[in-house]
Symmetry: C2
Subunit: 120 residues, 2 copies
C-alpha cells in the first residue's frame, strides 16, 4: 500500500476526520489525504505551521529531561489536530472536527504508524 | 479559595499528577502547586517553555481560520502535559506521569477553570 492509501484509510475510518498527513519533523509533507474542511479553513497550511510546535515541544522536553515527545494535540474552535511520532524524523497527523472521534483517531494512528514506518 | 488551593486540589484529585499551574499566555506563572516529579525533571521550567507552544498554536490557528485554541497536550516519555485556556490571557496546565489519569485531568480542568476565572 502507498502512503496515500494508508492516510486515506485513517480519514475514512475516523468520524469527523478531514485530513491525515505524513510529515517530516522539519515541516515538509511526505504525503496527505484531505477532504474539504469547509469555508476558509486551510488545513494543509495549518498542519505545516503546527509542525513547528512538534519541533519546539521536542526541544523543550529534551532540554528538561522529560524524554522524547511522542504525541501532541491542539484543540481549537473549528479543528482538533493530533500528531504522533512515527520515527525520529517523521510524524503523522490527523485533523478532525472538534466533535469528531478523538479516541478512534488515536487508535488509527497507533495502528497505522508502524505500517508507514515500514515503508519509510 | 486562593489560586494555590484550587491548583492543589487538581493535583490531589488526579492520579499521577505532579503539578498544576495557572499561567499567563506570555509564559509568566501566576501560581502553581508542585510535587517532586523525580530525578532531573524540572517541570516548573518545562511548563514555562511549553507556554510558547500555546502562543504559537494560537497564532497559527487564528491565521488559518481554525478559531481560538482552547486546549493543547504534549505527551513525552516521562510527562504528559495538558493546557486549557481559562481566559484569553491565562491558561491552566496539569503535568502528570504518562500513566496518569488523562481523562480525570481534563475533567478537573473543566471544573476548575471557571473557579480560577472568577478570581482573576
Amino acid at each position: 500500500m502507498s502512503f496515500r492509501a494508508h492516510l486515506q484509510q485513517v480519514v475514512e475510518n475516523v468520524d469527523g476526520a478531514v485530513a491525515c498527513a505524513l510529515m517530516g519533523v522539519d515541516g515538509i509533507e511526505v504525503d496527505s489525504h484531505h477532504l474539504d474542511a469547509g469555508d476558509g479553513l486551510d488545513v494543509h497550511t495549518l498542519l505545516i505551521e503546527y509542525s513547528s510546535l512538534f519541533r519546539a515541544a521536542r526541544e523543550a522536553a529534551a532540554a528538561h529531561e522529560a524524554g522524547a515527545v511522542s504525541e501532541l494535540s491542539v484543540l481549537s474552535e473549528r479543528l482538533l489536530v493530533v500528531a504522533r511520532l512515527v520515527s525520529p524524523e517523521y510524524f503523522m497527523v490527523v485533523a478532525l472536527r472538534p466533535d469528531g472521534n478523538f479516541g478512534k483517531a488515536r487508535f488509527m494512528m497507533r495502528v497505522t504508524a508502524p505500517k508507514l514506518l515500514a515503508e519509510l
